[in-house]
Amino acid sequence: MKILVASGKGGVGKSMLASSLALLYLKKNKIVVCDCDVDAPNTGLWLGETKSDSIEKISTSFKAKIDLEKCTKCGKCKDVCMFFAIEKNENYHINPFLCEGCGACQIICPVNAITLNSVKNGEIRIRNTKYDFPLVSAQLYPGEAGSGKIIEQLRKKAEEFDHDIMILDAAAGTGCPVIASLRGCDYVVLVTEPTPSGFSDLKRILEVVNHFKIPYGVVINKWDIYPKLSKKIEKWAKNKILGRISYDKNVIECIVNLKPVIFSDSKVVNEIREIFSHLK
């Protein structure tokens, strides 16, 4: 069973909830946790983990390179590049921050002056946590492309560990990395907060979840910062509501001290247990 925690909006409590659910599932299940936010992986911090046992550099993207000795400056490569990655001053050159490695320029070049080279664009990290379950995460190197493909590799790696529950923690947003995290999941826990943006982003991520026809439930985090809107969201989500979590400064204390929330005496612990009881 694969459970994804997602939200659309960032900073609403995905990693906090994903790490808490993982520790609750751990009591009766073999679990693996997969941090699918490869831009800014944070699930480990909520589990008190700052290190990795193994790091494997991976390559899931290409970048074009122009051989200036062969280049006849015909400009065809620049014309076909849909990513505006080919710039011209004295010579033609590739802007590595824009190049997607699609290869269109390589095909069009009449003198074979362009090569595509694979780049090490990220790394996969594995940690056997102090609670004795594997945490698999990845870091896309800042400035590199290919987050969706890194997530595919990351998930393959997570599958290698014996488990009956996989908890996946998505990045914010609704685009490429989130779609790569969603594919093949059995259930999605959608986290939101009672702000106009939290509610709007919940509706946007839900459109994507419905596109893949994956069952889901909704959690309202920090519900008491704006109770009126929380009620509105509950009314809107109807029977999909899994529960609400209060705003509690103790949660911030937990992350500052790298202590899992579920082992604290914050009032949110019982609220998260309640949510968990609806998931089992």
Partner: protein, 274 residues
Amino acid sequence: MEKIVSTGAKGGVGKSTFAILLAFKLSNQRKKVVLCDCDVECPNDYLILGKKLKDKKPIYKEYPILDKKKCIKCGKCSETCKYNAIFWVKEKYPIFIYDLCSSCKACVIACPNKAIRTKKQIAGNSFINKINDNFWLVTGISKPGVLDIVPIVREAKERAIELAKEKNAIYLIIDTAPGTHCNVIEALLDADKTYAVTEPTPLGSHDLGLILELLKKLNIPGEIVLNKADVGNKKVIEEVAKKFNTKISIEIPYSEKLVDAYCKKKLNKMVDLI
């Protein structure tokens, strides 16, 4: 025109709040400002400003279509596609999977018999809202399910630049998505100045390190905005600031009043915070 970016790899740290406060502050000084919301997957600035999106302009992406009369079933297109978006088995026509397509058109070029054309489909929209006499908002928004959103960021930004020129705006403020990948990079390109918004937690410091590393690679100057400055542990942010030789130029204390103003769409009353 000065291009100022509000970014920060972590979500929910206050990127949009800061961008809007800055836009109000400058426009209150009678300086003309265009704010461009480049978080096109989840644009929220218009919501926080209490506006309904206006002046819609579609943004297109091109997707391949096959001319079966010309296709010789050679599989060259499938072999070329770096996104695994073209499915082909021997002696059959290729199938295009639009969900995976990046619109790079490499297949169009690779086809030896010119059997692939492209057709335009709406991938998103941009909008313009007037906030006050000196403040306009441009919003880019992607269609849910669209994989590659960089073109939407690019076109929203282009529209904002055009509007800024037309209105003689002095400042273009760009609000990015969380993260550090391609859509954020597109929003950051050509920036004159960047504010990396963060919070004083290990999450904030970890992600601040990532965005400052990206800024360094892109060679864009940055400063740090520390939001919720009085909760958590400021030391962790100071360490990253020191490591990257970047100053913490603005500190915003946590206040329930600010949360309330954010929820109730009244951030214009809070400009004194920055």
